[in-house]
Protein backbone atom coordinates (compact mmCIF):
# COMPACT_ATOMS: atom_id res chain seq x y z
CA UNK A 1 0.00 0.00 0.00
CA UNK A 2 2.76 2.42 0.90
CA UNK A 3 4.47 1.40 -2.29
CA UNK A 4 1.39 2.39 -4.26
CA UNK A 5 1.06 5.76 -2.54
CA UNK A 6 4.69 6.59 -3.14
CA UNK A 7 4.43 5.74 -6.77
CA UNK A 8 1.26 7.81 -7.09
CA UNK A 9 2.94 10.80 -5.46
CA UNK A 10 5.82 10.44 -7.87
CA UNK A 11 3.53 10.35 -10.87
CA UNK A 12 1.49 13.30 -9.61
CA UNK A 13 4.69 15.32 -9.35
CA UNK A 14 5.81 14.31 -12.83
CA UNK A 15 2.44 15.23 -14.28
CA UNK A 16 2.54 18.60 -12.55
CA UNK A 17 6.05 19.32 -13.86
CA UNK A 18 5.11 18.32 -17.40
CA UNK A 19 1.97 20.45 -17.43
CA UNK A 20 3.78 23.45 -15.97
CA UNK A 21 6.51 23.24 -18.57
CA UNK A 22 3.80 22.93 -21.17
CA UNK A 23 2.30 26.17 -19.86
CA UNK A 24 5.53 28.17 -19.92
CA UNK A 25 6.94 26.93 -23.19
CA UNK A 26 4.84 29.05 -25.58
CA UNK A 27 5.24 32.07 -23.33
CA UNK A 28 8.96 31.94 -23.84
CA UNK A 29 8.56 32.17 -27.60
CA UNK A 30 9.02 35.50 -29.35
CA UNK A 31 5.84 37.34 -30.33
CA UNK A 32 2.34 36.06 -29.80
CA UNK A 33 0.76 33.54 -32.12
CA UNK A 34 -2.41 35.60 -32.60
CA UNK A 35 -0.57 38.42 -34.29
CA UNK A 36 1.08 35.96 -36.61
CA UNK A 37 -2.24 34.33 -37.32
CA UNK A 38 -3.96 37.65 -37.98
CA UNK A 39 -1.23 38.86 -40.28
CA UNK A 40 -1.74 35.80 -42.38
CA UNK A 41 -5.49 36.29 -42.55
CA UNK A 42 -5.62 40.12 -42.38
CA UNK A 43 -7.97 40.63 -45.28
CA UNK A 44 -10.54 38.21 -43.91
CA UNK A 45 -11.24 39.99 -40.63
CA UNK A 46 -12.80 43.30 -39.75
CA UNK A 47 -11.62 45.12 -36.59
CA UNK A 48 -14.52 43.86 -34.45
CA UNK A 49 -13.72 40.29 -35.38
CA UNK A 50 -10.07 40.85 -34.47
CA UNK A 51 -11.09 42.19 -31.07
CA UNK A 52 -13.34 39.25 -30.35
CA UNK A 53 -10.55 36.88 -31.42
CA UNK A 54 -8.16 38.53 -29.00
CA UNK A 55 -10.78 38.11 -26.30
CA UNK A 56 -11.26 34.48 -27.28
CA UNK A 57 -7.55 33.74 -26.89
CA UNK A 58 -7.30 35.71 -23.67
CA UNK A 59 -4.90 38.32 -25.04
CA UNK A 60 -7.06 41.30 -24.13
CA UNK A 61 -6.48 41.28 -20.39
CA UNK A 62 -3.29 42.14 -18.52
CA UNK A 63 -3.57 39.28 -16.08
CA UNK A 64 -0.39 38.46 -14.18
CA UNK A 65 1.56 35.35 -15.06
CA UNK A 66 0.38 33.70 -11.86
CA UNK A 67 -3.24 34.50 -12.70
CA UNK A 68 -2.73 33.05 -16.17
CA UNK A 69 -1.17 29.95 -14.68
CA UNK A 70 -4.11 29.42 -12.33
CA UNK A 71 -6.59 30.02 -15.15
CA UNK A 72 -4.69 27.49 -17.23
CA UNK A 73 -5.16 24.84 -14.57
CA UNK A 74 -8.82 25.73 -14.12
CA UNK A 75 -9.49 25.44 -17.84
CA UNK A 76 -7.43 22.26 -18.03
CA UNK A 77 -9.59 20.60 -15.42
CA UNK A 78 -12.76 21.67 -17.19
CA UNK A 79 -11.37 19.99 -20.32
CA UNK A 80 -10.80 23.20 -22.25
CA UNK A 81 -7.52 23.19 -24.14
CA UNK A 82 -8.27 26.26 -26.23
CA UNK A 83 -9.00 26.54 -29.91
CA UNK A 84 -6.97 25.47 -32.87
CA UNK A 85 -6.00 28.14 -35.44
CA UNK A 86 -5.33 25.83 -38.26
CA UNK A 87 -8.50 23.78 -37.92
CA UNK A 88 -10.97 26.60 -38.28
CA UNK A 89 -10.95 27.55 -34.58
CA UNK A 90 -12.37 24.17 -33.55
CA UNK A 91 -11.76 23.26 -29.89
CA UNK A 92 -8.39 21.54 -29.50
CA UNK A 93 -9.96 18.69 -27.52
CA UNK A 94 -12.24 17.88 -30.44
CA UNK A 95 -9.42 18.02 -32.95
CA UNK A 96 -7.29 15.68 -30.85
CA UNK A 97 -10.23 13.42 -30.12
CA UNK A 98 -10.77 12.94 -33.83
CA UNK A 99 -7.17 11.85 -34.38
CA UNK A 100 -6.43 9.89 -31.21
CA UNK A 101 -8.55 6.78 -31.88
CA UNK A 102 -6.84 6.23 -35.22
CA UNK A 103 -3.40 6.31 -33.69
CA UNK A 104 -4.38 4.27 -30.66
CA UNK A 105 -6.10 1.71 -32.83
CA UNK A 106 -3.42 1.33 -35.46
CA UNK A 107 -0.23 1.76 -33.47
CA UNK A 108 -1.67 0.28 -30.28
CA UNK A 109 -2.79 -2.93 -31.91
CA UNK A 110 0.42 -3.18 -33.91
CA UNK A 111 2.63 -2.60 -30.87
CA UNK A 112 0.80 -5.11 -28.70
CA UNK A 113 0.82 -7.68 -31.49
CA UNK A 114 4.48 -7.12 -32.10
CA UNK A 115 5.29 -7.50 -28.40
CA UNK A 116 3.26 -10.69 -28.03
CA UNK A 117 4.59 -12.34 -31.19
CA UNK A 118 8.16 -11.17 -30.63
CA UNK A 119 8.29 -12.27 -27.00
CA UNK A 120 6.73 -15.63 -27.84
CA UNK A 121 9.14 -16.28 -30.69
CA UNK A 122 12.07 -15.03 -28.61
CA UNK A 123 11.16 -17.33 -25.73
CA UNK A 124 10.93 -20.26 -28.07
CA UNK A 125 14.22 -19.77 -29.91
CA UNK A 126 15.95 -18.98 -26.61
CA UNK A 127 14.65 -22.26 -25.21
CA UNK A 128 15.83 -24.10 -28.33
CA UNK A 129 19.20 -22.42 -28.40
CA UNK A 130 21.76 -24.02 -30.63
CA UNK A 131 19.08 -25.64 -32.76
CA UNK A 132 17.79 -24.63 -36.17
CA UNK A 133 15.57 -22.03 -34.52
CA UNK A 134 18.67 -19.85 -34.24
CA UNK A 135 18.39 -19.07 -37.96
CA UNK A 136 15.70 -16.57 -36.98
CA UNK A 137 18.28 -14.41 -35.23
CA UNK A 138 20.02 -12.84 -38.28
CA UNK A 139 16.63 -12.05 -39.82
CA UNK A 140 15.45 -10.46 -36.60
CA UNK A 141 18.62 -8.38 -36.43
CA UNK A 142 18.18 -7.29 -40.03
CA UNK A 143 14.56 -6.24 -39.62
CA UNK A 144 15.23 -4.44 -36.37
CA UNK A 145 17.80 -2.19 -38.05
CA UNK A 146 15.67 -1.25 -41.06
CA UNK A 147 14.07 2.19 -40.53
CA UNK A 148 10.27 2.26 -40.29
CA UNK A 149 9.64 4.74 -43.06
CA UNK A 150 11.88 3.00 -45.53
CA UNK A 151 10.16 -0.30 -44.89
CA UNK A 152 6.85 1.51 -45.25
CA UNK A 153 7.82 2.76 -48.70
CA UNK A 154 8.95 -0.71 -49.76
CA UNK A 155 5.73 -2.23 -48.48
CA UNK A 156 3.68 0.34 -50.41
CA UNK A 157 5.69 -0.29 -53.55
CA UNK A 158 5.13 -4.05 -53.37
CA UNK A 159 1.69 -4.62 -51.90
CA UNK A 160 -0.08 -1.50 -53.05
CA UNK A 161 1.47 -0.26 -56.28
CA UNK A 162 2.54 -3.56 -57.78
CA UNK A 163 0.14 -6.15 -56.38
CA UNK A 164 -2.71 -3.80 -55.56
CA UNK A 165 -3.78 -5.86 -52.54
CA UNK A 166 -4.11 -3.00 -50.08
CA UNK A 167 -4.68 0.75 -50.39
CA UNK A 168 -1.54 2.81 -49.86
CA UNK A 169 -2.84 5.65 -47.75
CA UNK A 170 -5.52 7.15 -45.50
CA UNK A 171 -7.57 5.35 -42.90
CA UNK A 172 -10.65 4.68 -45.04
CA UNK A 173 -11.87 5.15 -48.61
CA UNK A 174 -12.34 8.65 -49.92
CA UNK A 175 -15.96 9.69 -49.88
CA UNK A 176 -17.08 7.55 -46.95
CA UNK A 177 -17.32 8.82 -43.41
CA UNK A 178 -16.80 7.05 -40.06
CA UNK A 179 -19.78 4.91 -39.09
CA UNK A 180 -20.39 1.54 -37.45
CA UNK A 181 -21.01 -0.60 -40.48
CA UNK A 182 -19.31 -3.76 -41.72
CA UNK A 183 -18.38 -2.02 -44.91
CA UNK A 184 -16.60 0.77 -43.07
CA UNK A 185 -14.86 -1.57 -40.63
CA UNK A 186 -13.64 -3.57 -43.61
CA UNK A 187 -12.23 -0.42 -45.14
CA UNK A 188 -10.45 0.47 -41.91
CA UNK A 189 -8.87 -2.96 -41.75
CA UNK A 190 -7.81 -2.84 -45.40
CA UNK A 191 -6.28 0.61 -44.98
CA UNK A 192 -4.66 -0.27 -41.67
CA UNK A 193 -3.03 -3.51 -42.78
CA UNK A 194 0.03 -2.07 -44.48
CA UNK A 195 0.98 0.47 -41.79
CA UNK A 196 0.32 -2.10 -39.07
CA UNK A 197 2.42 -4.70 -40.89
CA UNK A 198 5.23 -2.21 -41.23
CA UNK A 199 5.18 -1.35 -37.54
CA UNK A 200 5.03 -5.00 -36.52
CA UNK A 201 7.89 -6.01 -38.80
CA UNK A 202 10.09 -3.09 -37.91
CA UNK A 203 9.72 -3.58 -34.15
CA UNK A 204 9.43 -7.38 -34.00
CA UNK A 205 13.17 -7.97 -34.23
CA UNK A 206 13.87 -6.02 -31.07
CA UNK A 207 11.37 -8.04 -29.04
CA UNK A 208 12.65 -11.34 -30.43
CA UNK A 209 16.29 -10.56 -29.69
CA UNK A 210 15.59 -9.09 -26.26
CA UNK A 211 13.55 -12.07 -25.15
CA UNK A 212 15.92 -14.61 -26.62
CA UNK A 213 18.92 -13.11 -24.87
CA UNK A 214 17.10 -12.98 -21.55
CA UNK A 215 15.96 -16.58 -21.99
CA UNK A 216 19.52 -17.74 -22.54
CA UNK A 217 20.63 -15.92 -19.40
CA UNK A 218 17.78 -17.34 -17.35
CA UNK A 219 18.26 -20.88 -18.67
CA UNK A 220 21.64 -20.97 -16.95
CA UNK A 221 20.04 -20.21 -13.60
CA UNK A 222 19.99 -22.98 -11.02
CA UNK A 223 16.24 -22.93 -10.62
CA UNK A 224 15.80 -24.01 -14.23
CA UNK A 225 18.09 -26.99 -13.63
CA UNK A 226 16.15 -27.75 -10.46
CA UNK A 227 12.88 -27.60 -12.39
CA UNK A 228 14.30 -30.08 -14.88
CA UNK A 229 15.60 -32.32 -12.14
CA UNK A 230 12.12 -32.27 -10.62
CA UNK A 231 10.94 -33.96 -13.77
CA UNK A 232 8.57 -31.19 -14.82
CA UNK A 233 7.32 -31.24 -18.38
CA UNK A 234 9.56 -29.14 -20.67
CA UNK A 235 6.67 -26.86 -21.52
CA UNK A 236 6.11 -26.11 -17.86
CA UNK A 237 9.81 -25.43 -17.27
CA UNK A 238 9.87 -23.13 -20.29
CA UNK A 239 6.80 -21.10 -19.34
CA UNK A 240 6.64 -21.08 -15.54
CA UNK A 241 10.33 -21.02 -14.77
CA UNK A 242 12.34 -19.68 -17.70
CA UNK A 243 10.04 -17.37 -19.68
CA UNK A 244 8.29 -16.13 -16.54
CA UNK A 245 11.59 -14.67 -15.32
CA UNK A 246 12.93 -13.66 -18.71
CA UNK A 247 9.89 -11.55 -19.53
CA UNK A 248 10.37 -9.12 -16.64
CA UNK A 249 12.93 -6.84 -18.35
CA UNK A 250 10.82 -7.00 -21.52
CA UNK A 251 7.95 -5.41 -19.64
CA UNK A 252 9.85 -2.20 -19.00
CA UNK A 253 10.62 -1.85 -22.69
CA UNK A 254 7.01 -2.62 -23.48
CA UNK A 255 5.82 0.17 -21.19
CA UNK A 256 8.11 2.62 -22.96
CA UNK A 257 6.82 1.41 -26.31
CA UNK A 258 3.24 1.87 -25.14
CA UNK A 259 4.03 5.40 -24.06
CA UNK A 260 5.39 6.22 -27.47
CA UNK A 261 2.35 4.84 -29.25
CA UNK A 262 0.71 8.25 -29.11
CA UNK A 263 3.64 10.37 -30.12
CA UNK A 264 6.26 8.20 -31.70
CA UNK A 265 4.93 7.30 -35.11
CA UNK A 266 4.97 10.63 -36.86
CA UNK A 267 6.98 9.40 -39.82
CA UNK A 268 4.84 6.30 -40.16
CA UNK A 269 1.62 8.29 -40.31
CA UNK A 270 3.24 10.62 -42.80
CA UNK A 271 4.25 7.84 -45.15
CA UNK A 272 0.76 6.36 -45.10
CA UNK A 273 -1.09 9.72 -44.79
CA UNK A 274 -2.81 8.23 -41.76
CA UNK A 275 -5.02 10.76 -39.91
CA UNK A 276 -3.49 10.10 -36.48
CA UNK A 277 -1.84 12.16 -33.77
CA UNK A 278 1.57 12.15 -35.40
CA UNK A 279 0.28 13.71 -38.58
CA UNK A 280 -1.74 16.19 -36.56
CA UNK A 281 1.37 17.24 -34.67
CA UNK A 282 3.22 17.80 -37.91
CA UNK A 283 0.33 19.88 -39.31
CA UNK A 284 0.15 21.91 -36.12
CA UNK A 285 3.87 22.60 -36.18
CA UNK A 286 3.80 23.64 -39.82
CA UNK A 287 0.88 25.99 -39.17
CA UNK A 288 2.44 27.36 -35.93
CA UNK A 289 -0.82 26.32 -34.27
CA UNK A 290 0.28 26.77 -30.65
CA UNK A 291 -2.87 25.71 -28.80
CA UNK A 292 -3.03 22.50 -30.77
CA UNK A 293 0.65 21.75 -30.22
CA UNK A 294 0.30 22.40 -26.52
CA UNK A 295 -2.68 20.10 -26.38
CA UNK A 296 -0.81 17.37 -28.25
CA UNK A 297 2.25 17.64 -26.04
CA UNK A 298 0.00 17.31 -23.04
CA UNK A 299 -1.69 14.20 -24.40
CA UNK A 300 1.63 12.62 -25.35
CA UNK A 301 3.12 13.31 -21.93
CA UNK A 302 0.12 11.90 -20.16
CA UNK A 303 0.22 8.82 -22.37
CA UNK A 304 3.83 8.13 -21.36
CA UNK A 305 2.87 8.60 -17.72
CA UNK A 306 -0.10 6.26 -17.93
CA UNK A 307 2.02 3.64 -19.68
CA UNK A 308 4.58 3.87 -16.90
CA UNK A 309 1.92 3.45 -14.24
CA UNK A 310 0.66 0.36 -16.04
CA UNK A 311 4.18 -1.02 -16.24
CA UNK A 312 4.68 -0.41 -12.53
CA UNK A 313 1.50 -2.24 -11.69
CA UNK A 314 2.39 -5.12 -13.99
CA UNK A 315 5.86 -5.33 -12.49
CA UNK A 316 4.52 -5.36 -8.96
CA UNK A 317 2.11 -8.13 -9.89
CA UNK A 318 4.67 -10.27 -11.70
CA UNK A 319 7.77 -9.77 -9.58
CA UNK A 320 7.39 -10.20 -5.82
CA UNK A 321 10.85 -8.74 -5.27
CA UNK A 322 9.90 -5.27 -6.47
CA UNK A 323 6.92 -5.28 -4.11
CA UNK A 324 9.28 -5.88 -1.21
CA UNK A 325 12.04 -3.51 -2.09
CA UNK A 326 9.90 -0.45 -2.52
CA UNK A 327 7.64 -0.85 0.47
Amino acid sequence: MRFLLRRLAFYAFTAWAAITINFFLPRMMKGDPITAYLQKHQSEFNPEAIDSLRTLFGLDSDASLLQQYLDYWRLLFSGDLGRSFSKGLAPVTEVIASALPWTLGLVGVATILSFLIGTGVGAFIGWRRGSRADYVVPFATFFSTVPYFWMGLIVIAIFSTRLGWFPASHAYDKGSSPEWSWDFIGQVIAHGTLPALTIVFASLGGWVLGMRNMMITVLDEDYVTVAEAKGLAPQRVMTRYAARNAVLPQLSSFALALGFIVGGTLVMELVFSYPGVGKLLLDATNAKDWPLMQGLFLVITLAVLVANILADIAHAMLDPRTRMMES
Binding site: E228, G231, L232, R321
Partner: protein
Protein backbone atom coordinates in the same frame (compact mmCIF):
# COMPACT_ATOMS: atom_id res chain seq x y z
CA UNK B 1 21.56 -51.94 7.38
CA UNK B 2 20.78 -54.35 4.62
CA UNK B 3 23.41 -55.04 2.03
CA UNK B 4 20.92 -54.77 -0.78
CA UNK B 5 22.23 -52.64 -3.66
CA UNK B 6 20.25 -49.55 -4.71
CA UNK B 7 22.35 -48.06 -7.47
CA UNK B 8 25.07 -49.57 -9.58
CA UNK B 9 27.27 -47.26 -11.61
CA UNK B 10 29.39 -49.12 -14.07
CA UNK B 11 32.31 -47.81 -16.13
CA UNK B 12 30.76 -44.33 -16.25
CA UNK B 13 32.58 -41.68 -18.32
CA UNK B 14 31.66 -38.10 -19.15
CA UNK B 15 33.58 -35.91 -21.58
CA UNK B 16 33.12 -32.17 -22.07
CA UNK B 17 33.36 -31.88 -25.80
CA UNK B 18 35.30 -28.63 -25.95
CA UNK B 19 38.70 -27.97 -27.45
CA UNK B 20 40.67 -29.75 -26.11
CA UNK B 21 38.13 -32.28 -24.74
CA UNK B 22 37.97 -32.58 -20.96
CA UNK B 23 37.53 -36.03 -19.49
CA UNK B 24 35.59 -34.99 -16.39
CA UNK B 25 34.60 -38.48 -15.25
CA UNK B 26 36.68 -41.48 -16.25
CA UNK B 27 35.40 -45.06 -16.01
CA UNK B 28 33.84 -44.69 -12.60
CA UNK B 29 32.24 -47.77 -11.06
CA UNK B 30 30.55 -47.88 -7.72
CA UNK B 31 27.66 -49.58 -5.94
CA UNK B 32 25.43 -47.82 -3.46
CA UNK B 33 23.66 -49.81 -0.75
CA UNK B 34 20.09 -49.18 0.28
CA UNK B 35 19.92 -46.80 3.25
CA UNK B 36 23.56 -45.91 3.02
CA UNK B 37 25.17 -42.47 3.07
CA UNK B 38 27.92 -42.44 0.53
CA UNK B 39 30.28 -39.50 0.69
CA UNK B 40 31.85 -38.27 -2.51
CA UNK B 41 34.90 -36.15 -1.74
CA UNK B 42 37.45 -34.41 -3.85
CA UNK B 43 38.81 -31.03 -4.77
CA UNK B 44 36.94 -28.54 -6.95
CA UNK B 45 36.85 -29.63 -10.57
CA UNK B 46 37.50 -33.30 -9.85
CA UNK B 47 34.24 -34.31 -11.53
CA UNK B 48 32.07 -35.14 -8.53
CA UNK B 49 29.20 -32.84 -9.54
CA UNK B 50 29.48 -33.97 -13.16
CA UNK B 51 29.14 -37.57 -12.00
CA UNK B 52 26.03 -36.76 -9.97
CA UNK B 53 24.42 -34.84 -12.83
CA UNK B 54 25.41 -37.59 -15.22
CA UNK B 55 23.62 -40.23 -13.15
CA UNK B 56 20.45 -38.09 -13.29
CA UNK B 57 21.11 -37.31 -16.96
CA UNK B 58 20.97 -33.60 -16.25
CA UNK B 59 24.12 -32.75 -18.19
CA UNK B 60 23.79 -30.30 -21.04
CA UNK B 61 26.00 -30.03 -24.09
CA UNK B 62 28.95 -29.91 -24.45
CA UNK B 63 28.95 -32.67 -21.83
CA UNK B 64 28.60 -36.15 -23.35
CA UNK B 65 28.26 -39.48 -21.55
CA UNK B 66 30.77 -41.56 -23.50
CA UNK B 67 30.57 -44.88 -21.74
CA UNK B 68 29.00 -46.84 -18.96
CA UNK B 69 25.61 -47.02 -17.40
CA UNK B 70 23.80 -46.41 -14.16
CA UNK B 71 21.27 -48.99 -13.04
CA UNK B 72 18.73 -48.22 -10.37
CA UNK B 73 17.42 -51.20 -8.42
CA UNK B 74 13.91 -50.17 -7.55
CA UNK B 75 12.08 -51.23 -4.37
CA UNK B 76 9.67 -53.14 -6.55
CA UNK B 77 12.53 -55.37 -7.63
CA UNK B 78 12.69 -53.84 -11.07
CA UNK B 79 16.09 -52.81 -12.46
CA UNK B 80 16.00 -49.48 -14.27
CA UNK B 81 18.80 -48.64 -16.67
CA UNK B 82 18.74 -44.87 -16.39
CA UNK B 83 20.59 -44.27 -19.67
CA UNK B 84 18.05 -46.32 -21.58
CA UNK B 85 14.97 -44.37 -20.46
CA UNK B 86 13.21 -42.25 -23.07
CA UNK B 87 12.47 -38.58 -22.35
CA UNK B 88 9.06 -39.16 -20.75
CA UNK B 89 10.19 -42.08 -18.65
CA UNK B 90 13.24 -40.09 -17.57
CA UNK B 91 11.05 -37.23 -16.38
CA UNK B 92 8.81 -39.61 -14.50
CA UNK B 93 11.89 -41.23 -12.93
CA UNK B 94 13.48 -37.99 -11.79
CA UNK B 95 12.55 -36.82 -8.33
CA UNK B 96 10.23 -39.78 -7.88
CA UNK B 97 13.10 -42.25 -7.40
CA UNK B 98 16.12 -39.98 -7.18
CA UNK B 99 15.91 -36.37 -6.04
CA UNK B 100 18.61 -33.76 -5.66
CA UNK B 101 19.56 -30.94 -3.36
CA UNK B 102 21.68 -28.47 -5.20
CA UNK B 103 24.73 -26.43 -4.54
CA UNK B 104 23.91 -22.77 -3.98
CA UNK B 105 20.61 -22.59 -2.17
CA UNK B 106 20.33 -18.95 -3.11
CA UNK B 107 19.47 -19.56 -6.74
CA UNK B 108 17.83 -22.95 -6.63
CA UNK B 109 14.35 -21.53 -6.09
CA UNK B 110 12.37 -19.65 -8.71
CA UNK B 111 12.32 -16.03 -7.49
CA UNK B 112 8.87 -15.22 -8.86
CA UNK B 113 6.92 -18.18 -7.47
CA UNK B 114 5.99 -18.78 -3.85
CA UNK B 115 7.69 -21.76 -2.26
CA UNK B 116 4.31 -23.43 -1.78
CA UNK B 117 3.73 -23.34 -5.52
CA UNK B 118 7.16 -24.74 -6.22
CA UNK B 119 6.52 -27.61 -3.84
CA UNK B 120 3.13 -28.21 -5.38
CA UNK B 121 4.72 -28.35 -8.82
CA UNK B 122 6.31 -31.63 -7.83
CA UNK B 123 2.97 -33.20 -6.92
CA UNK B 124 1.20 -31.71 -9.92
CA UNK B 125 3.68 -33.41 -12.19
CA UNK B 126 4.22 -36.73 -10.46
CA UNK B 127 0.92 -37.27 -8.62
CA UNK B 128 -1.66 -35.74 -10.97
CA UNK B 129 -4.49 -37.64 -9.30
CA UNK B 130 -3.92 -35.83 -6.02
CA UNK B 131 -6.60 -33.36 -4.99
CA UNK B 132 -5.82 -29.72 -4.35
CA UNK B 133 -6.46 -29.82 -0.62
CA UNK B 134 -4.45 -33.01 -0.20
CA UNK B 135 -1.59 -31.47 -2.16
CA UNK B 136 -1.60 -28.35 -0.01
CA UNK B 137 -1.63 -30.40 3.15
CA UNK B 138 1.26 -32.52 1.92
CA UNK B 139 3.35 -29.42 1.14
CA UNK B 140 2.53 -27.84 4.49
CA UNK B 141 3.53 -31.07 6.21
CA UNK B 142 6.87 -31.09 4.39
CA UNK B 143 7.63 -27.53 5.44
CA UNK B 144 6.81 -28.46 9.05
CA UNK B 145 9.04 -31.50 8.78
CA UNK B 146 12.14 -29.50 7.85
CA UNK B 147 11.42 -26.85 10.45
CA UNK B 148 10.51 -24.03 8.11
CA UNK B 149 6.88 -24.09 9.16
CA UNK B 150 3.69 -24.27 7.14
CA UNK B 151 3.00 -20.57 7.57
CA UNK B 152 5.79 -19.99 5.02
CA UNK B 153 3.84 -21.60 2.20
CA UNK B 154 3.09 -18.26 0.61
CA UNK B 155 6.52 -16.74 1.11
CA UNK B 156 8.77 -15.97 -1.80
CA UNK B 157 12.38 -17.16 -1.87
CA UNK B 158 13.78 -13.67 -1.29
CA UNK B 159 11.90 -13.50 1.99
CA UNK B 160 13.81 -16.47 3.39
CA UNK B 161 17.35 -16.77 4.72
CA UNK B 162 19.89 -19.00 3.00
CA UNK B 163 19.45 -21.74 5.59
CA UNK B 164 15.69 -21.69 5.25
CA UNK B 165 15.93 -21.85 1.48
CA UNK B 166 18.13 -24.90 1.74
CA UNK B 167 15.60 -26.49 4.09
CA UNK B 168 12.88 -25.77 1.55
CA UNK B 169 15.01 -27.52 -1.04
CA UNK B 170 15.39 -30.51 1.27
CA UNK B 171 11.63 -30.55 1.85
CA UNK B 172 11.16 -30.48 -1.90
CA UNK B 173 13.65 -33.29 -2.39
CA UNK B 174 11.74 -35.44 0.09
CA UNK B 175 8.33 -34.68 -1.34
CA UNK B 176 7.89 -37.96 -3.20
CA UNK B 177 9.74 -40.13 -0.65
CA UNK B 178 12.54 -40.95 -3.10
CA UNK B 179 14.82 -43.89 -2.47
CA UNK B 180 17.92 -41.87 -3.22
CA UNK B 181 18.79 -38.27 -2.55
CA UNK B 182 21.84 -36.73 -4.19
CA UNK B 183 23.13 -33.80 -2.20
CA UNK B 184 25.58 -31.60 -4.03
CA UNK B 185 27.40 -29.44 -1.50
CA UNK B 186 24.13 -28.69 0.27
CA UNK B 187 25.74 -26.74 3.08
CA UNK B 188 28.71 -25.08 1.43
CA UNK B 189 27.21 -21.60 1.29
CA UNK B 190 26.07 -21.69 4.90
CA UNK B 191 27.90 -20.91 8.12
CA UNK B 192 28.97 -23.75 10.39
CA UNK B 193 26.08 -23.51 12.84
CA UNK B 194 23.37 -23.60 10.22
CA UNK B 195 25.38 -26.27 8.45
CA UNK B 196 25.31 -28.41 11.57
CA UNK B 197 21.57 -28.00 12.07
CA UNK B 198 20.88 -28.99 8.51
CA UNK B 199 23.17 -32.00 8.68
CA UNK B 200 21.48 -33.19 11.84
CA UNK B 201 18.16 -32.75 10.14
CA UNK B 202 19.26 -34.81 7.16
CA UNK B 203 20.46 -37.59 9.49
CA UNK B 204 17.16 -37.50 11.41
CA UNK B 205 15.08 -37.64 8.29
CA UNK B 206 17.14 -40.43 6.87
CA UNK B 207 16.67 -42.59 9.94
CA UNK B 208 12.94 -41.79 9.82
CA UNK B 209 12.39 -42.31 6.12
CA UNK B 210 15.24 -44.62 5.23
CA UNK B 211 16.46 -43.18 1.95
CA UNK B 212 20.03 -43.43 0.67
CA UNK B 213 22.17 -40.37 0.23
CA UNK B 214 25.05 -39.53 -2.04
CA UNK B 215 26.65 -36.60 -0.30
CA UNK B 216 29.02 -34.52 -2.40
CA UNK B 217 31.43 -32.13 -0.76
CA UNK B 218 35.06 -31.11 -0.61
CA UNK B 219 34.85 -31.10 3.17
CA UNK B 220 36.38 -34.48 4.06
CA UNK B 221 36.10 -34.14 7.87
CA UNK B 222 32.40 -33.51 7.48
CA UNK B 223 32.06 -36.67 5.42
CA UNK B 224 34.02 -38.68 7.98
CA UNK B 225 31.36 -37.77 10.47
CA UNK B 226 28.18 -38.39 8.54
CA UNK B 227 28.84 -41.03 5.92
CA UNK B 228 29.00 -44.80 5.98
CA UNK B 229 31.41 -45.05 3.12
CA UNK B 230 33.50 -42.45 1.33
CA UNK B 231 34.65 -42.31 -2.24
CA UNK B 232 37.60 -40.02 -2.90
CA UNK B 233 37.73 -38.63 -6.37
CA UNK B 234 40.60 -37.03 -8.24
CA UNK B 235 40.75 -35.97 -11.89
CA UNK B 236 37.58 -37.88 -12.74
CA UNK B 237 38.68 -41.14 -11.16
CA UNK B 238 37.63 -42.66 -7.85
CA UNK B 239 41.00 -43.28 -6.24
CA UNK B 240 39.72 -44.85 -3.06
CA UNK B 241 36.39 -46.18 -1.82
CA UNK B 242 36.19 -47.45 1.75
CA UNK B 243 34.28 -47.08 4.99
CA UNK B 244 34.62 -43.79 6.79
CA UNK B 245 36.65 -45.40 9.56
CA UNK B 246 39.07 -47.00 7.13
CA UNK B 247 39.53 -43.76 5.28
CA UNK B 248 40.30 -41.95 8.48
CA UNK B 249 42.58 -44.44 10.13
CA UNK B 250 43.99 -46.39 7.24
CA UNK B 251 43.93 -44.39 4.03
CA UNK B 252 45.49 -46.38 1.22
CA UNK B 253 45.90 -43.82 -1.49
CA UNK B 254 48.47 -41.11 -1.24
CA UNK B 255 45.96 -38.46 -2.39
CA UNK B 256 43.51 -39.37 0.39
CA UNK B 257 46.28 -39.01 2.93
CA UNK B 258 47.19 -35.63 1.50
CA UNK B 259 43.56 -34.55 1.62
CA UNK B 260 43.29 -35.68 5.23
CA UNK B 261 46.49 -33.99 6.31
CA UNK B 262 45.34 -30.72 4.84
CA UNK B 263 42.89 -30.50 7.72
CA UNK B 264 44.55 -29.98 11.08
CA UNK B 265 43.68 -32.40 13.83
CA UNK B 266 42.68 -31.47 17.36
CA UNK B 267 46.10 -32.36 18.59
CA UNK B 268 47.84 -30.48 15.83
CA UNK B 269 50.84 -28.33 16.52
CA UNK B 270 50.21 -24.81 17.63
CA UNK B 271 50.61 -22.44 14.74
CA UNK B 272 49.19 -24.92 12.27
CA UNK B 273 46.34 -23.69 10.20
CA UNK B 274 43.49 -23.42 12.69
CA UNK B 275 40.13 -24.37 11.38
CA UNK B 276 36.83 -23.34 12.98
CA UNK B 277 36.31 -24.95 16.39
CA UNK B 278 33.10 -26.40 15.03
CA UNK B 279 34.45 -29.11 12.81
CA UNK B 280 37.64 -30.20 14.53
CA UNK B 281 35.89 -32.26 17.23
CA UNK B 282 33.96 -33.72 14.35
CA UNK B 283 36.94 -35.63 13.04
CA UNK B 284 37.71 -37.19 16.38
CA UNK B 285 34.09 -38.11 16.97
CA UNK B 286 33.96 -39.97 13.72
CA UNK B 287 37.12 -41.78 14.53
CA UNK B 288 35.80 -43.10 17.81
Amino acid sequence: MTSETLLTVDDFSVVYDVDPPVEAVRHVSLALQRGEILGLAGESGCGKTTLAYGIQRLLKPPAVITSGRAVFHDESGEDIDINALDADAMRAFRWDKVSMVFQGAMNALNPVASIGRQLEDVFLTHRPSMGRAERREECAGLLDLVGVGRERMRSYPHELSGGMRQRVMIAMAMALRPQLMIMDEPTTALDVLVQREILEQISDLRSKLGFSVIFITHDLPLLLEISDRIAVMKDGVIVELASALDIYSDAQHEYTRRLLSSFPSLTGERGDFIRGSESTPTTTEAAL
